[in-house]
């Protein structure tokens, strides 16, 4: 089984405050991992550090991605190499059209993969096709990035971008929050459609309902910057029923 991501003893801080306190985490091709954990436990921070958010400082540990040192790469190098983060809070970028933004993003990704660049016609066709994966209204892809999008539309737009870029490692940070019941099904089904034996998905979520659709091979609980328990999909069901207290008490 091909290894995609290996994290060993990862420590990270922001403004001198340590948030990640020794994370070990391994993802192989074809797998789905779920990361759960109480608010403020460091889930988004972990996703940001893997993505290379320059605001966080890595103070210890190693991360290898497809055998190379991920921490030596900057944000865009990681993205081009196939690391994708679906943001918990996607950013609105007034004046920048989705099409212009995605055209550059796709061009950089294809450059990295050594694929020929798309013609305008091919690109537009791809926009239309990938929009269908999450039933994203084509009017939205004609607008500025996330500007005036509803909460749910922003999340759909994240998965639309994932479909456009065909990443190898996707980290979906609470992509289910803000989605209505139908949208949740559509987005989750979309994510499943994008799964291949060669890529891997990490979903960060608070709720089992997403995991009903995107069934995880592993479930991890993050607490105070450490993974305190890993299990299979039954762990998520137990957490849904019983909350985190039993686990946290045990941890203390």
């Amino acid at each position: 089984m091909k290894n995609i991501l290996t994290v060993k003893g990862l420590h990270a801080s922001i403004d001198g405050k340590e948030i990640l306190r020794g994370i070990d985490f391994t993802v192989n091709a074809g797998e789905v991992h779920a990361i759960m954990g109480p608010n403020g436990s460091g889930k988004s921070t972990f996703a940001s550090v893997i993505a290379g958010d320059p605001r966080f400082e890595v103070t210890g540990g190693e991360v290898t991605y497809n055998g190379v040192d991920l921490l030596a790469m900057n944000v865009e190098e990681r993205a081009r190499a196939g690391v994708f983060l679906s943001f918990q809070y996607p950013v609105e970028i007034p004046g920048v059209s989705m099409a212009n933004f995605m055209k550059l993003a796709v061009a950089r990704r294809r450059e990295y993969l050594g694929l020929p660049q798309l013609s305008s016609g091919e690109f537009l066709k791809m926009m239309r096709e990938k929009g269908k994966v999450v039933e994203l209204d084509s009017k939205l892809t004609g607008r500025a990035v996330n500007e005036g999008f509803s909460g749910g539309e922003k999340k759909k737009n994240e998965i639309f971008q994932m479909a456009m870029l065909q990443p190898e490692l996707s980290i979906l940070d609470e992509t289910d929050s803000g989605l209505d019941i139908d949208a949740l099904r559509i987005v989750a089904t979309g994510v499943n459609k994008l799964r291949t034996p060669d890529n891997a998905t990490v979903v960060i979520t608070h709720y089992q309902r997403l995991l009903d659709y995107i069934v995880p091979d592993f479930v991890h609980v993050l607490y105070k910057g450490q993974i305190i328990l890993s299990g299979d999909k039954s762990l998520a069901l137990k957490l849904e029923k019983e909350g985190y207290d039993w686990l946290i008490n045990q941890y203390k």
Binding site: P54, R80, L85, I93, G95, A105, A144
Partner: protein, 334 residues
């Protein structure tokens, strides 16, 4: 800045003013627009200086006379280059409809005097493209008669200094002026734009949007004045100054002001000075764009709605010139 190429071989009617003198032949253009010596027109009495606010009796330069009822056939381009000063007077006759494109560069100093007569519609598009070390100064005065409309788009993307001032008086009821503009102060550059709009009579409409960008140690200034006379009831007037600062040493001063003496009016004004959004840059980098590309897209997103107001083939050329400027500016962020 490849400014000459901006207008080259594009348009049938080009009036070229170089070193303060008109280098194009005077006469009636194929389109029907008359291009005359301003000095001679004043001396012969063909032009009354009073018809143009602020025009001196000894003015020298070019008179562009758009006949009454004229219907736009293509665009008239006026290039003002080299060193030296010159006046350009424009008369848009009753009910005429025309578009003028100005290109300024070099150390040009120019006074522009516009009279938009009853029911006329005049579109003015202007690009300022002085090279580094050059300084362009243009002062524009316009008066607009009843039911007439002037629509101005200003794009300043030179690498030198620019000092632009506009004073527009709405003198006839139901007249309207719209002015959208953009100035870009790159490292080492100074740009200043002053826009004054006077509502002298009731039922007029004005809308001014000026955008500024400064990078490196660039400096920009916007002075806006919206004046509404006591009798000018039912005025609708808007003035907006929106600015983007890139980097810690860049500065833009903005001063939008209102002086309103009428009581039944709809007026608003506002100014913003913002920074590049770092979260947006990070977001775009996470999708594989370089930092420069992300900044460039954001800057382009800020300025494009102004540039898009150029029409036809010129739009593409201005866009390309603006992209070069944007590219140069986003390098000077720190």
């Amino acid at each position: 800045m490849e400014r000459a190429s901006l207008l080259n071989d594009m348009f049938g009617t080009v009036v070229r003013i170089c070193g303060g003198e008109c280098r194009s032949p005077f006469g009636i253009m194929p389109s029907g627009i008359r291009v005359l010596s301003l000095g001679e027109a004043i001396r012969s009495g063909a032009v009354l200086v009073e018809a143009f606010g602020g025009l001196c009796a000894d003015a020298e330069g070019v008179l562009i006379d758009i006949p009454a009822g004229y219907r736009a056939e293509g665009t008239v381009c006026i290039t003002v280059e080299g060193d030296g000063g010159c006046d350009v007077a424009i008369s848009a006759g009753d009910g005429s409809d025309a578009e003028l494109v100005f290109l300024f560069d070099g150390n040009a100093t120019c006074g522009r005097f516009v009279s938009v007569c009853h029911g006329a519609s005049l579109r003015v598009r202007e690009v300022f493209a002085s090279a580094a070390g050059e300084s362009v100064a243009v002062s524009c005065r316009a008066r607009i008669d009843g039911e007439a409309f002037m629509d101005t788009v200003t794009v300043e993307l030179g690498d030198g200094t620019a000092k632009l001032s506009y004073a527009t008086a709405l003198e006839g009821a139901m007249s309207k002026t719209v002015h959208s503009g953009l100035f870009m102060a790159g490292d080492g550059e100074r740009k200043s734009v002053a826009v004054r709009v006077e509502h002298r009579v009731p039922d007029c409409h004005s809308d001014v949007t000026m955008k500024g960008v400064a990078a490196g140690d660039g400096f920009g200034a916007f002075d806006g004045m919206l004046y509404v006379a006591r009798d000018a009831q039912h005025t609708e007037a808007y003035q907006q100054s929106r600015n983007l600062i890139m980097g810690g040493k860049a500065r833009i001063l903005t001063s939008p002001q209102l002086e309103i003496y009428a009581d039944d009016v709809k007026c608003s004004h506002g100014a913003t000075v913002g920074q590049m959004n770092d979260d947006a840059v990070y977001y775009m980098r996470q999708r594989g764009l370089s930092e420069a590309e992300a900044r460039g897209l954001q800057l382009a997103g800020f300025v494009n709605d102004i540039i898009m107001r150029f029409e036809g083939g010129l739009a593409q050329r201005v866009l390309e010139a603006a992209e070069k400027k944007i590219d140069a500016m986003q390098r000077f962020v720190e």
